[in-house]
Symmetry: C2
Subunit: 159 residues, 2 copies
DNA sequence: GTTTTTGCAAATGATTTGCAGAGCT
DNA sequence: AGCTCTGCAAATCATTTGCAAAAAC
């Protein structure tokens, strides 16, 4: 099918099995493309768009079609393995871990950090109580500027 | 220009002046189209997309072009009068008031409520301190289910 | 009268879809 | 064999842009 399919029927080296297992427990069949997408995305700090990921996969020698990239990203996001960030015209995706957390998005460098939802006196629970609203911890985004960018700004301004 | 332009050079009745003033203080010239857009959007509970707004304006007898709607929405959002919600393929806009607040988005009915950012023990400030991150209160979104929808669900399930 | 805004139509860009072939069970 | 996944090309949908007429200051 793709240029890399000649390598082996499937490449079971490294933590490929772990990735496959993760797909399975999310309720998805661990197809080669989905594994490649998840492997390509999982160590990134900032959300990746479909086209950028397509290029990255090509660079890795995986000849994945554009529509397959879109389909894989949607499937992974719907299964809860990725979080989708809309804005700037395209949707970008980032790994989303299991625990209760929300997302700190740096508008300067684009990095997204997961912040544990309970390290702050259960803020989300207070919303539930005080605002008559049941928040979904993993669907909360806070935009701002991360510490590194703040300090970079200051240095740029001062000196 | 439009079918309504024959009515009067400008329609200074009601709180049209107030809307114009709001545009001015946001740094925008209060053109007829911008006023019409702001008037059409400001009492809505849930964010409105460009096309929906276009239809609404047509219904009100304002023959506004599609690109003007887009331009007006972008201008108002950039000026801070509206908040833009991306997702589901299109960008939707909602009035955004002056105070420190974040947005509670009901995934069931789509309603967005502004929640004062200080009613919760300055949660955002704690993030700033604990997470090395400078949050922008007005760019924070929490998704979840609002009280009305929760109760509607329960009623639907029980009886 | 000059500058800004608007409308239209065409262009762009992201994403989806139809469909036939490939891959896995 | 049967069902899902994939790739390609075409279709779709939201949004942007070029440009000339219209409106505002």
């Amino acid at each position: 099918m793709g240029p890399d399919s000649a390598t082996a029927p499937c490449e079971p080296r490294g933590d490929a099995d772990e990735v496959a297992a993760r797909l399975r427990s999310a309720g998805l069949s661990p197809t080669r493309r989905r594994r490649q997408v998840l492997e390509a995305i999982e160590h990134r700090q900032r959300p990746v768009g479909a086209h950028e990921l397509y290029v990255e996969l090509a660079r890795r020698g995986h000849g994945v079609g554009m529509s397959t990239v879109y389909r894989a990203l949607s499937a992974l996001a719907e299964a809860g393995l990725l979080h989708a960030f809309a804005g700037d015209g395209e949707t970008r995706y980032r790994l989303c871990t299991a625990g209760r957390h929300y997302h700190l998005v740096c508008r300067r460098c684009g990095t997204v950090r997961e912040y544990p939802a309970d390290d702050d006196g259960a803020w989300l629970d207070r919303i539930a109580a005080e605002a008559d609203f049941e928040p979904d911890p993993r669907k909360a985004e806070v935009q701002g500027v991360c510490g590194s960018c703040l300090r970079a700004d200051r240095n740029g301004t001062d000196g």
